[in-house]
Symmetry: C2
Subunit: 199 residues, 2 copies
């Protein structure tokens, strides 16, 4: 190893990013140290600020630095319609692709008993309590079209039917086994518009 | 925009990394905030430490947190042989691929008059002074095989010949227009071993 320890540590630290292997980490390190130290400091500040300040919205569980996120706080969004997604990133994808005007609920995962992820980890008790308060009249299931995503959708649908809520599922225009976050807007828009009642 | 300001700022900050577009930046942000806040803090620390602590070696101009880098300080490296490279990352690539036991000199760029990069920016006065002190008996030109890299090699070769130093150039097994840092080790090893006298 010919790199100085701090350089090596920075390369190592970049490996925590998704999709970044040893070569990319090295490239990022050299690029920042040689050409963009200002950017590096800004990135360090932004990381600290986000880790420090960003928690989750107490209503929809998305990433938020306020107790209630902007979408849940907005009275221009219909509180009677709830779109159920797996990840905060899915909200952004849906907002970009559709003209949905309801609100969201983020599961932060999917039912996966083998990994110890059950209804409690996904905040489903909170969701059920909300269903039972009667403020929600419709839900749209937008979990990923994977086996676990389907099972999760089934589970939430059961809960909703128990509270007499209309349930729909986004259409399977989304390719099976795909990841909602990375689908192109057109496909996602069609899938959202062509949602069907959930049996 | 449905993201909270701190999340948005972090996504923006990730854009300073090479090869990171809006989608990757978003993916990195969500991945860290949802699953690896420890990694995010460590990355922030490593960025700060590196920006703060890493300067350049006063002998070879590579990134170093000490006044003289490990390679230049080591008495197990032949001080009479100098390999001239464009970037600090090239040193790592050559060290990994070859059994070179001499030292390095990092230009931190290449001659490019249109961009205002002349001999002074590449530290060539320093290099020339070193040539004239007579401690260097051989140089190996390992600049990238691009037009500017070739011009730079020519320029350094002239300087060296003036000081009666043997000059060689790594072989053009390295694909033309390529970037030294990303060539596979085998090609690089061959190019290094098959270097020829520089005319």
């Amino acid at each position: 190893m010919v790199q100085s320890p701090l350089v090596r540590e920075l390369i190592e630290a970049f490996r925590c990013l998704p999709g970044v292997g040893p070569k990319s980490a090295q490239r990022m390190t050299y690029a920042l140290l040689q050409r963009d130290r200002g950017g590096a400091q800004q990135l360090a500040r932004a990381l600290d600020a986000a880790v420090e300040g960003v928690g989750e919205c107490e209503q929809c569980r998305t990433l938020s630095e306020t107790a209630v996120c902007g979408l849940c706080a907005s009275d221009r969004r219909d509180a009677g319609v709830l779109c159920i997604v797996e990840n905060p990133a899915d909200i952004q994808a849906l907002e970009d692709a559709t003209d949905y005007r309801g609100r969201y609920f983020v599961l932060k995962g999917r039912l996966s008993p083998l990994d110890g992820i059950g209804p409690a980890e996904l905040g489903l008790e909170v969701l059920e309590a909300r269903f039972n308060r009667g403020e929600v009249r419709e839900i749209i299931l937008a979990t990923n079209p994977t086996v676990e995503g389907e099972a999760t959708a089934q589970y939430v649908a059961e809960m909703a039917r128990g509270a007499d809520i209309r349930v729909s599922r986004i259409a399977h225009g989304v390719p099976l086994g795909g990841d909602l976050e990375y689908v192109d807007s057109g496909t996602l828009s069609h899938a959202f518009a062509g949602r069907s009642n959930y049996e």
